[in-house]
């Protein structure tokens, strides 16, 4: 009986842990707010006339900082990590593609617009928290 209760408690705790991490929102954080605005600002200054790889890497690094900080902060940061994931994918693909040589100017301009839109959405959501 004791073993059954121990297993049941463990299952309930695991379920609770998953539920808390999924449904409880993260709260206001000064460092996350600053980092996401830094990212937004970097996207605002993308210049398709300049070498693209350095610019892509700057955005990638800032998002990496955000990710590492949020992961280190604890389990209640899943919502913000999910929020920045599409931006990380967009920036990483850009960095990978521009490693050898710069992609076309048309590609850079559309990438810039997409990254700016994503950063704006993420900034509003992160700064709009309670």
């Amino acid at each position: 009986m004791k073993q059954f209760l121990a297993v049941l408690s463990l299952l309930l705790l695991t379920a609770c842990n998953t539920t808390v991490a999924t449904f409880v929102p993260s709260f206001w954080d000064d460092n996350q707010s600053r980092s996401i605005i830094n990212t937004y600002q970097l996207t605002k200054h993308i210049d398709c006339e300049l070498p693209q790889n350095t610019q892509a890497q700057q955005i990638q690094r800032e998002l990496e900082w955000f990710q590492l900080y949020s992961e280190s902060k604890g389990m209640l940061q899943k919502d913000v990590l999910q929020l920045i994931a599409p931006m990380q994918k967009t920036a990483t693909e850009w960095a990978d593609r521009s490693k050898e040589k710069d992609p076309s100017p048309a590609y850079c301009k559309i990438k810039r617009e997409l990254l700016q839109t994503q950063a704006e959405l993420a900034s509003r959501a992160i700064l709009g928290r309670f």
């Binding site: 929102p25 919502d79 929020l83 593609r97 076309s104 048309a106 990438k111 994503q118 959405l121």
Partner: protein
């Protein structure tokens, strides 16, 4: 394509913006300014942006809910 053109002129600003961007990617691909791989990647990014939009809305609702609960608890 026809539905994208309809959406580009619709009253919802975010949907119109996304549809215009999709049409832009398509036309740049047709003109040869974008390679097939570049165009495919940008279309995927566009879809990911819409998913981010939903998550951002979800966070806004959760923030409003927490705020409302906090106000309600102070009134108890």
């Amino acid at each position: 394509m026809a539905s994208l053109q309809d959406l580009a002129g619709c009253s919802s600003p975010w949907a119109a913006k996304r549809a215009k961007l999709a049409l832009d990617i398509q036309s740049q691909r047709n003109s040869g300014a974008l390679s097939p791989a570049e165009a495919a990647e940008l279309m995927e990014d566009l879809i990911a942006t819409d998913q981010l939009n939903e998550e951002a809305d979800d966070m806004a609702v959760k923030a409003a809910l927490v705020s409302a609960i906090n106000i309600a608890s102070k009134l108890l």
